[in-house]
Amino acid sequence: MKAEAHLEVYRRFQGRLEEHRWRAWPILDAGLRVALKQRKALLFLFAPIVIATIVFSVVVYAKFVVDGLESDALGPEGATSLEGMAMQAVIQAQIGRLLEVVTWMIEFVKAMGFAATLLVAWFASGLLCEDKKAGAHQLYFARPITRLDYFLGKFAIGSFFSLCAMLAPLLVISTVAALSSPEWSFLKQEWDLIPRAIFYALVWTTTIVSLVLLASSLAPRRSFAMIGVFAVVLLSEAASGLLGNFIDPAFLVLGIVNDLNALCYHIFDKPVAGPPVPVGLAWTGVAVTLGLSWFVIALRLRRMEVVA
């Protein structure tokens, strides 16, 4: 055997440096890896969602199958002329159950939205301020990425959690509903619930993640950012409530939760349950919130890049 000695010296890089299709992908990837290391937080924050999903699945199942059994049991007995009425009653009951389940599901998605907010607040509050505090922006902005890339990467991390919280349970519930509804009536008649819910999840996610990143870009520390998010949301609620109830209902638009609430029902094409905000105003409210958030974040990112 020939002897070998390898002197460890600097080696040139022989590979290629290519521009990825999406430049900020490594930020998302690395950021998620870091976030997913926090086992306890994941458990704590996802457990309620998982539990709620399971419980709700059981309820939906029960509603369709168990309830259905009862009312179906009413059906077959009775006279022929009664059969017709009974059939109608059964169908009515089925439709009623379906509508009830749909209403519940909307409320469930809304609730998941709030759970998503907690998740995003926990995992995404530090995304910008911790980088600034550690000085890591100096390394990021020396790489071939733009400020927009950086923002999109961080945005994607926050969105991951929000969409996980809102869409995964939705998928489960929809499957349960589809399977347990008689003759797939859920899928046949209420299938549009799914795309609407996805759209709503996107609207909610975009808004919440933007607000959290806004807080993160302004706060010196993660804990401040988290408090800031909740403070802003609650304050806007309080302000809109006060002004809306005592001066002019139009002021309700100031509450971002009110706006999202109104949009929720609009997206699902159902009557609004909660503070009445006209749809046009609600969209405006959300748009203004997003616009302002992104504008301030852009300013803060510019400042991070430029100031040593």
């Binding site: 000695a5 010296v9 022989q14 990825h20 530090g126 100096q138 390394l139 071939p144």
Partner: protein, 361 residues
């Protein structure tokens, strides 16, 4: 037959005759991109190579913040190789670095690095692939260990995952971070953090390295190691360096050229060798014995001399004439324990450049 691998790609084939080994050794001993200047008092036996293409060109580069002129009309053509960037605090060094990285846009003028202009967004990203930056202050990405940080930054620069991981381990080997690379950064000493900062600047094998106070906070062992790495990168690995440091002897040890900046202008630039060359030739002596006896001999020979501290003298004499001094010392009955050619220190160059005021040398 023992085989030694020098720089470059590992070779699959491990057999080799003596002849093969020699030719491989030749290839791997290829000269770096520039030649170091000849030592003191040497006679050039061959003409110098033509100047290689400059790695950094500044044309009237200016940056203003309102009424504050951070940089005024910097013009410079910097050849490849290790260069020190010196200047008092607030002279404009960080502004210059930000301009080179494309983080700031110039108020006037242009910069070109390896042919790219950082002010042009399209070229800026390509440029950043060829520059490595080691910041002075804390900058390590939180909640990640060393491997993760270097890998993520490598990927952000355009490497695919496999390359990035391999390369991350390679550079961490080079800077000497062993098992510590898997541990959290909370346990890192300053030395380890500085080395990690250097590793992340090297991951994509850039042509030009911007090193900002690399020995900041390091103890003597750490400084020595870091300077060895910097020296290796600049002299053996053919990298161009722009080294910002307040410790002038560090710059002397690792750089061939310096640029002195003050109040936003270049006050002095050139090779260290040229800048520290003295017009007159003085020699410093340390005497073991009766200094006055030697002084008498020197006066008798007509040589100018003056005291230079306890047991030391400065003598004006042609540098090649050391023998004569030994003869005189022997005649005076003393021994010489030091005989060195006096050069300006870089510190003197720095101070003079600052005092001079305005314009380039």
């Amino acid at each position: 037959m023992p085989k030694v691998e020098g720089e470059g790609e590992p070779r699959a084939d491990s057999s080799g005759s003596a002849a093969e080994l020699a030719s491989e050794a030749e290839i791997h001993a290829a000269a770096p991109a520039y030649l170091p200047p000849p030592g003191p008092g040497a006679i050039l036996a061959f003409p110098p190579l033509s100047e290689p293409a400059p790695v950094l060109i500044l044309e009237g580069l200016e940056k203003r913040y309102g009424s504050l002129h951070a940089l005024r009309g910097l013009t410079l053509a910097l050849p490849p190789g290790p260069t020190g960037l010196l200047g008092p605090n607030g002279a404009g060094k960080s502004t210059l670095i930000k301009l080179l990285l494309g983080q700031l846009e110039p108020s006037a003028g242009r910069a070109r690095i390896a042919g790219f202009d950082p002010a042009v967004p399209a070229e800026r990203l390509a440029l950043r692939r060829r520059i490595g930056y080691m910041p002075e202050s804390d900058c390590l990405i939180p909640r990640m260990n060393a491997v993760e940080i270097v890998t993520a930054l490598g990927r952000l620069t355009g490497m695919n995952v496999r390359d990035a991981i391999t390369r991350a381990h390679e550079v961490l080997d080079y800077v000497g971070l062993e098992e510590a690379r898997y541990r959290g950064l909370d346990e890192y000493s300053t030395g380890m953090k500085q080395r990690l900062k250097l590793a992340q600047a090297l991951v994509h094998d850039p042509e030009l390295l911007l090193l900002d106070e690399p020995t900041n906070g390091l103890d003597p062992k750490g400084r020595k190691h870091m300077l060895e790495l910097v020296h290796d990168l600049g002299h053996n690995q053919g990298k161009s360096l722009l080294l910002c440091s307040h410790l002038l002897p560090d710059v002397e040890r690792t750089c061939e050229r310096v640029i002195v900046i003050h109040k936003g202008t270049i006050r002095s630039q050139g090779t260290i060798h040229e800048l520290t060359r003295r017009e007159e030739s003085w020699v410093k002596l340390e005497i073991d014995g009766d200094v006055t006896a030697l002084q008498r001999e020197l006066t008798a020979e007509g040589l100018t001399h003056e005291p230079d501290g306890e047991g030391r003298l400065r003598v004006r004499i042609a540098s090649a004439d050391g023998d004569r001094l030994f003869q005189l010392a022997a005649r005076a009955g003393v021994a010489l324990s030091e005989l060195v050619l006096e050069r300006s220190s870089l510190e003197d160059v720095f101070v003079e450049a600052l005092a001079a005021g305005g314009g380039t040398q």
